[in-house]
Amino acid sequence: MTISPEKIDVVIVGSGAAGSLMAAKLSQAGKKVLILEAGPERKLQDLTSSQIHARRLKWAGDAVTEQGAQPVGNGFNSGYGTGGSALHHYGVWPRLHSEDFKVKSLFGKGLDWPINYGDLQPYYDRIQQEVGISGDHQAEVWRPDGAAYPLPPVPAFQQSEIIARGFTKLGKTTSPLPMALNSHEYNDRPGCLWDGWCDAGCPTKALANPLAVYLPEADKQGAKIIHQATVSRILTDKSGKKATGVTYRTAAGDEVTQLAGMVVLAAFAIQTPRLLLNSGLANRSGLVGSYIMSHSAASVFGLFEDETAPYMGPTGGQMLNQDSYDHKDQRPQGFGSYQWMIGLAVKPNDLLGIGGSNPGLFGAKLTDFMKTAAQHFGNMTACVEDLPLAQNRVTLSTETDQYGLPLATVHHSADAASMALWQGALEEGKQIFKAADAREIWTGPLGPMHIMGGTIMGETAETSVTNSYGQCHDIDNLFIAGPGLFPTSGGVNPTFTVHALALRSTDYMLKNWSSLT
């Protein structure tokens, strides 16, 4: 065991969306920051435009066992290395709605957040200005209050325009999809080229991944990052009420102790609870690991007479519909909210590609389909809410890593009301495609999308792991950041909220630094 000689102000575990933002903000405030990242170093120039290469960005750390009827898909939904999952995320950045924060009190289901939309709104506004979101807040008739987006919306290419005809015919509304990518140059980052390579990681910085925005800022302010440094335990003083640092393993297997005044866990929704469970910390509630959630993706596909240019645009889509969002109890079936992301740019291969959309086709029929679909394909995906259930959780496995540390097991079986909602979304999607005159329509199987929960925030130490700032109830200088904090999932992509929460946490930390450390 080596002890790093230098005690630092704050050690951050994980260099993804949450960790990189916190590193930038805390180092800007003059704090000495170290990020420990389990995965390898990645640079913008490593982000080769290929769906096959893109797979190297996926989780390759300690194995995760998945159980349950609807597994969360860690292999697809988690990243590894500089920038974490966020390095190759698609930049679809809508806000949660007011109802999402009060699901329990409004509907008697799920949980409440310890904050409401109004508490987070200023942070959403600050982040969007800093990062640069493209969108049209007025066209987004469903959007809760907030500042106008700093950038004009992403353009609509043929695919989304054609699908939007179906929404219009059925009396539904569409708007541009709010995206954390530049519709034109912003803050020294270039405009998007609409080539659909976001899943392989955007190397131009048009998309606000951690290598484009917060990691360069953290670096400029003197924050350090060590790669292939897998944190294995959080250390505390004898009282157990104060974190003193972490231990981590280097690539060579050496164990290093890093002392720090503040510890931030930003290792995403599975590894953060694993770390807490392996350290035996912050679990007075017995809820560390509980309430793991994953949106269900409801994917609808079709072939259209018109050419759709389905390869154009960002991977995440071009248009949005949130008609089935508010009034979670008023869906034709099931309970909750969902949104449609319309006109995702596709490539021929990969799980989300043209070929993958229609797995029953093979032989000559597949060859014909690929030729036609390359020019006439259309697709949209609903991001469907998942109710939080205590039994959906991360636990420690009986299996261990090579150093004897228990691995994570994740169990996830969705609530029947969430499954019914997903089914309802598929039915609606098929009607929309019919109205858009698709000549062939089919749907995909349930795919898990985004991982949330596991270290939820709440009002009390009995019912949650942290307070609304991500501060562990039992340990003042131990913070958690990331979607693991969410008590409910909403029906929107999580990363804008991850940023807003992390910014709120850093404000709080900096204001209270001396009393916390």
Binding site: P40, Q45, L47, T48, S49, S50, Q51, I52, H53, R55, R56, K58, A60, A63, E66, P71, G73, N74, G75, F76, Y80, L193, D195, G196, W197, C202, P203, T204, Y311, K347, P348, N349, D350, L351, G353, I354, G355, G356, P359, G360, F362, G363, A364, L366, T367, M370, K371, A374, Q375
Partner: protein, 190 residues
């Protein structure tokens, strides 16, 4: 011709496989490796032939695109660098057992149903078999991952090599529009 080491090409392109051959590293696409009939590293020749046979029946063109070389090469890569679709799909690495057991099950199920070697099936028989394996385990399919899952995985691998390259995009009239092009194939280092 002896291959002493295979490496994953970190700087090369998505489908560039690197071989240490006669003292020099060469980068070849799976299709070029196929053309040169290079020996396999992990797969046996029999397994490689089965992969090409079934893969090509599912995704026409997969064999000449070098499907068996692609899979063979990926099977000898570290998990972190592995590009097989399997890494998405909750199958613990290493993956060679997945392919070996599925191919053995494929052969024995064909033998049970048709009393033939897979290569001797007629097109109609192969189509019927694939249609069946897509839905459930055919009789004789045992000690292996479920047949529909293997179908899905092999189909995805075959689509990767057949449709995931710059040339393939071109043949579908899809502009590749790379920010960073996957490296090209033919390159010999001293």
């Amino acid at each position: 011709m002896k291959i002493t080491r295979r490496n994953f090409s970190l700087t090369g392109g998505a489908l560039s496989l690197s071989f240490l051959l006669n003292g020099g590293i060469i980068h070849l696409s799976p299709a070029q490796a196929k053309e040169r009939a290079l020996p396999y590293q992990t797969l046996t020749p029999g397994q490689a032939a089965l992969i090409d046979l079934l893969g090509d029946a599912i995704v026409p063109g997969a064999k000449s695109a070098g499907l068996s070389y692609y899979i063979d090469h990926q099977l000898s890569a570290e998990f972190q660098d592995n590009l097989l679709i399997l890494r998405y799909l909750r199958v613990p690495a290493p993956f060679d057992g997945f392919y070996a057991s599925s191919l053995a099950a494929f052969e024995s199920a064909i033998s049970q149903k048709y009393n033939k070697k897979p290569r001797d099936l007629t097109e109609t028989e192969m189509t019927a078999f694939i249609t069946a394996m897509m839905q459930s385990n055919p009789d004789g399919w045992q000690h292996a991952p479920p047949a529909p899952f293997f179908y899905f995985v092999l189909r995805s691998d075959a689509i990767d090599v057949t449709y995931g390259t710059m040339d393939a995009f071109d043949s579908l009239d899809i502009p590749y529009m790379a920010h960073i092009e996957p490296g090209h194939t033919w390159e010999v280092n001293p």
